[in-house]
């Protein structure tokens, strides 16, 4: 029987395994060095914050794997022998495969900062990182201050985690406003303020120069490049993005660049070897996407697509419309379609923006300034319905259409204040139009 071996039990690896099982009775083994059972990496922060226990992050009960005949193997792959289709583990054991799926995910970026490997320096990606954080920052007596380097989603989550235990946090962001390579200025500015409201010492336009250690090899302070200022701290979080975790493939003939190079069928240059998730790199970008997408949802979708191919239904990985979401402390963020920041704005792209006068709610709708075609939406503090935007993007609706039917798309809990009227009014005034907001209709929503 064909033996499918999957390295990595994150969302990509587990999704591909589950879907192969749905469609076949092939032998499946998932290999992981991190933890025997699948857990949701994105939920690790809630374990530290005390919202959940680690076992709550595991979507399947432990009996699930045996019942579905998916073998779990704990081990660290040291070498891949593509000639003999064999994996060698760091403990000397080995495992042969018929088809190999590489789903090893990412590791935090390190840019060669002096002191980046000291005790007390960590990323926030692996289960180990959480254990390290628990060791070095259990409370604000052990950790008098933490410094976070890198202004992205993981950075702000780490800041939130540390603040939940009242640990003072200094947050170094290279850009002149938080995540403004991705977010429009309006949103980015709002998040800056929100970060400060949570008593996080946000330092914009600031780079790390070096991390200094005490006599025991532990972090004692960091130096800021621009000012030379020294900030004393016990923990440094490095959250300046991630890179594919593929060091173990160095000596193989599997073609890699930053990640494992794959075609649209997620095949590598070696027959019967595939790569999915954070560690897979497309030769050429799909649409406006990046070649490597370290996003939960894309990992899941690659798993779904590859499972089809493995089960004999050769299927291209064709992600649909872009979507994503995140939470910045208390502000929820969702995006559908493409909204580029001012920095990366396309030539034909224009914004329509609305912001609540008092609360942290705002939206940016981007549209084609020539054709008025709706391109994408960012929403902050307002939940929106995925299906509806997906449909509007597929049908190439205009921004007028989106605004007219905006009530259909609202996904906020019942009794929440609705802002569609104000939003549409603002658009009408700015564009001299007369769009009338349509009442929400179940028929349209669930058609």
């Amino acid at each position: 029987m064909e033996h499918i071996v999957i390295i990595g039990n994150g969302i990509s690896g587990v999704t591909v395994a589950r879907h192969i099982r749905k469609n076949s009775d092939k032998k499946i083994t998932i290999v992981s060095a991190e933890h025997k059972y699948f857990f949701s990496r994105t939920a690790l922060m809630y374990v530290y914050m005390g919202h959940m226990k680690f076992e709550h992050t595991q979507p399947y009960e432990n009996w699930f794997w045996e019942k579905n005949n998916i073998e779990l193997k704990k081990g660290y792959v040291a070498k891949v022998d593509t000639e003999n289709k064999n994996l060698e583990f760091s403990n000397g054991t080995s495992l042969t495969y018929s088809k190999l799926i590489i789903a090893t995910g990412s590791k935090p970026n390190k840019f060669g900062w002096p002191g980046q490997d000291l005790e007390g320096v960590m990323g926030m990606y692996h289960k180990k990182d959480l254990e390290k954080l628990e060791k070095h920052a259990p409370d604000n007596k052990t950790c008098k201050r933490a410094v976070i380097v890198g202004g992205g989603l993981i950075g702000i989550e780490l800041a939130e985690m540390l603040r939940s235990r009242d640990i003072p946090v200094t947050f170094l962001v290279r850009e002149d406003s938080f995540w403004n390579g991705v977010l429009p200025a309006q949103e980015s500015k709002m998040i800056n303020n929100h970060i400060k409201e949570h008593h996080i010492d946000l330092r914009l336009n600031t780079n790390l120069k070096e991390i200094k250690s005490d006599e025991l090899g532990k972090v004692s302070s960091i130096i800021i490049e621009e000012t030379g200022e020294e900030i004393f701290c016990n923990v440094v979080g490095l959250t300046a993005g991630v890179t594919p975790n593929i060091d173990f493939l160095k000596d193989t003939n599997i073609e890699t660049k930053k990640g494992v190079l794959v075609n649209r069928f997620l095949e590598t240059n070696i027959k019967d070897i595939y790569a999915i998730g954070d560690c897979a790199e497309q030769h050429e970008a799909i649409g406006q996407r990046r070649n490597i997408e370290a996003v939960w949802y894309t990992g899941r979708m690659m798993g779904e697509a590859l499972a089809q191919t493995i089960c004999g239904n050769k299927t291209e990985y064709k992600p649909g419309h872009w979507f994503n979401s995140a939470k910045f402390l208390d502000i929820e963020y969702q995006t559908y379609g493409w909204v580029f920041s001012e920095k990366n704005k396309q030539e034909n792209e224009a914004y329509f923006q609305w912001k609540h006068p008092k609360q942290h709610k705002c939206i940016t709708i981007s549209f084609d300034k020539n054709s008025n075609k709706f391109l994408g939406i960012n929403t902050f503090g307002i939940r929106m319905r995925h299906e509806i935007f997906d449909q509007w993007l597929t049908e190439n609706k205009s921004i007028e259409h989106v605004l007219e039917y905006l009530a259909d798309a609202n996904f906020d809990p019942e009794f929440y204040s609705l802002h569609e009227k104000e939003i549409v009014n603002k658009f009408n005034i700015e564009n001299n139009t007369n769009i009338q907001l349509k009442k929400k209709s179940w028929k349209r929503i669930f058609s």
Binding site: I11, S40, T42, A43, Y46, M49, G50, H51, M52, K53, H56, T57, Q58, P59, E61, S164, R165, H194, E197, H198, W296, Y297, R300, M301, E304, A305, Q308, N313, T315, K318, P319, G320, H321, F323, S325, A326, K327, L329, D330, E332, Q334, R383, M384, R385, H386, E387, D390, T394, F411, D412, P413, E414, F415, Y416, S417, W442, K443, I445, F446
Partner: protein, 540 residues
């Protein structure tokens, strides 16, 4: 802020300690006149009980409640033992007429009830003399302390938003020492209230003036329970308002359960009592209100004329028409988390423990067996009772009416709903009763599952399987299992509390009453992958 919080905790604990301490205060002894008037009220046909009680309780000794209770119960025993002997004697003599005669002399009811009723007359001391001061030192300090403990959260919790920080680091909310202490307190409270009410007769003295004002009669242990229930719900409701102040659904829902508890379950029945009407909680639907069809209730309703008939008709219409129709439109949440008192306590007092309900598949299996068995049990009991009521028979299909009523009241009414249902909040989560035991929830659930517009909608492909929803589901539903598949959640147990939606960091869940069509939507491939793939799968 921390100082205010801590002093609040201390004041609360002092109030609680005095409240418990009052049990041991005061003295109890009867005057001959008090006993005589009591016996006259009771209209006992036997004379032995008079001498037995006289001997036991008419004394100048200052007895505490436990001594007093013990003496009264002995007198009760003595009297009943005597007539039991008589019965046995005539039985042996085959003197059936004489034997039958003896039964009327036996004292009915539980010994602790007799002791409670006498203690109500016999109590003296600080609490009976200063009920207002006693109220302040117990309820008053408790409320002030609790509010001082809760109100600083407005600032301590930071900006509005879901703040479950540290729940699993805290002994009180992570099944630690404090949780077990709370469990012991709650379980003892229910045991005493249900089975040894005379021991806490002093609590009723604290509330006598309030009860007199509202219902025109002295407080019973059930008045104490009702008053305490409302007080606890209000105070913990304040906590809900602060914790969920960003979430209008939670605010409105909490106001609603508070309103129905205080007005419908507490004030209206009291006012009805003061007007010599039968006390009735208009929102308490059968079969949760399991004694609605008991003969004593039917009799008392029949005797009170118009209002009695109205209640009878209302009760039946509520169960047979209003409940299913409302569930069809809004799901069972309109009752379980907007109206019901049990739900109300679970949502306010129980909110800190909601994360403890077991989410495993085994728990789900147990839940389905248990709750439906209770439903069947309650229906069988009602059928038997009604049959016996109309035919005058003792039993139906070999089931004795009194036996099945007593078993249900004891097992389900007292143990399951009270002792286990609420007492075990800190360990098993706050909806133990609603999830495993409530026959009405089972009934509502059947409607919700098969014929309702309600569902929890999941938002396309946005779930990251983080598990917040499942962790904080008080009904033990593995919400994530559905959300990560993009599948609507249509489960009979969902009470629509809305917390899964509130804690979701990605905005994936929404409680909705939509068209029935497409409500159940098993999905193969989640939204996000290209449509071609979806068609491929669906065509297969």
């Amino acid at each position: 802020m921390k100082i205010i919080k801590n002093s609040g905790l201390i004041i609360f604990l002092v109030g609680l300690a005095i409240f418990i301490g009052t049990i041991f205060s005061g003295t109890f002894n009867l005057k001959q006149a008090e006993l005589d008037s009591f016996l006259q009220e009771q209209n006992y046909k036997n004379t032995l009980i008079k001498s037995a009680l006289q001997e036991a309780a008419v004394t100048n000794e200052d007895l505490n409640i436990f001594e007093f209770s013990s003496r009264v119960r002995k007198a009760y025993q003595k009297s009943n033992d005597y007539y039991d002997q008589q019965i046995a004697k005539y039985e042996a003599e085959k003197n059936w007429d004489k034997k039958g005669e003896q039964y009327q002399y036996k004292i009915n009811g539980k010994p602790h009830t007799l002791s409670f009723n006498l203690a109500k007359k016999a109590g003296k001391g600080f609490v009976t003399e200063n009920p207002s001061l006693a109220w302040f030192l117990t309820f008053g300090l408790g409320i002030i302390g609790a509010l001082l403990f809760i109100l600083p959260n407005l600032i301590l919790l930071g900006k509005p938003g879901i703040k479950n920080d540290g729940i699993y680091h805290d002994s009180a909310t992570n099944r630690g020492f404090i949780a077990w202490m709370v469990l012991i307190f709650l379980v003892s409270f229910y045991l005493v209230l249900y089975f040894f009410a005379d021991y806490v007769v002093n609590w009723t003295f604290i509330l006598d003036p309030i009860s007199e004002t509202l219902g025109g009669r002295p407080a019973s242990q059930w008045f104490v329970y009702g008053f305490l229930y409302c007080t606890v719900m209000l105070t913990m409701g304040v906590r809900m308002f602060i914790k969920y102040r960003h979430n209008k659904y939670q605010i409105v829902r909490t106001i609603s359960v508070l309103f129905f508890q205080i007005v419908f379950a507490f004030l209206i029945p009291e006012i009805m009592a003061s007007l010599q009407m039968p006390e009735y909680d208009f929102k308490n639907a059968f079969p949760l209100d399991y004694d609605f069809f008991f003969e004593w209730n039917l009799k008392s309703l029949a005797e009170t004329g118009g209002i009695g008939i109205f209640i009878l008709v209302w009760g039946i219409v509520l169960t047979l028409v209003i409940v299913p129709v409302m569930v069809y439109f809004f799901g069972k949440r309109w009752y379980c988390s907007w109206v019901c008192g049990c739900g109300g306590l679970a949502e306010t007092l129980g909110d800190p423990y909601r994360q403890h309900s077991n989410k495993s598949l085994n728990a789900w299996k147990l839940e389905r067996w248990l709750i439906h068995s209770v439903l069947v049990f309650s229906l069988v009991m009602t059928l038997v009772t009604l049959y016996c009521y109309f035919t005058g028979a003792q039993s139906f299909l070999g089931i004795n009416s009194q036996w099945i009523k007593d078993s249900y009241s004891f097992l389900i009414g007292a143990w399951f709903a009270g002792v286990i249902g609420t007492g075990f909040y800190p360990i098993f989560g706050n909806r133990v009763w609603c999830r495993f035991g409530c026959p009405l929830a089972a009934y509502l659930g059947l409607v919700q599952r098969f014929k309702s517009r309600f569902r929890i909608t999941t938002n396309g492909g946005q779930c990251i399987s983080c598990g917040n929803c499942s962790t904080y589901c008080e009904q033990g539903i593995d919400v994530r299992a559905y959300a990560q598949k993009g599948e609507n959640i249509v489960r009979s147990s969902c009470v629509g509390c809305g917390v899964c939606s509130a804690v979701c960091p990605r905005g994936v869940l929404k409680l909705e009453n939509g068209p029935e069509n497409g409500r159940i939507n098993p999905t193969e491939i989640l939204l996000g992958n290209d449509v071609d793939l979806m068609e491929l799968i669906n065509d297969k």
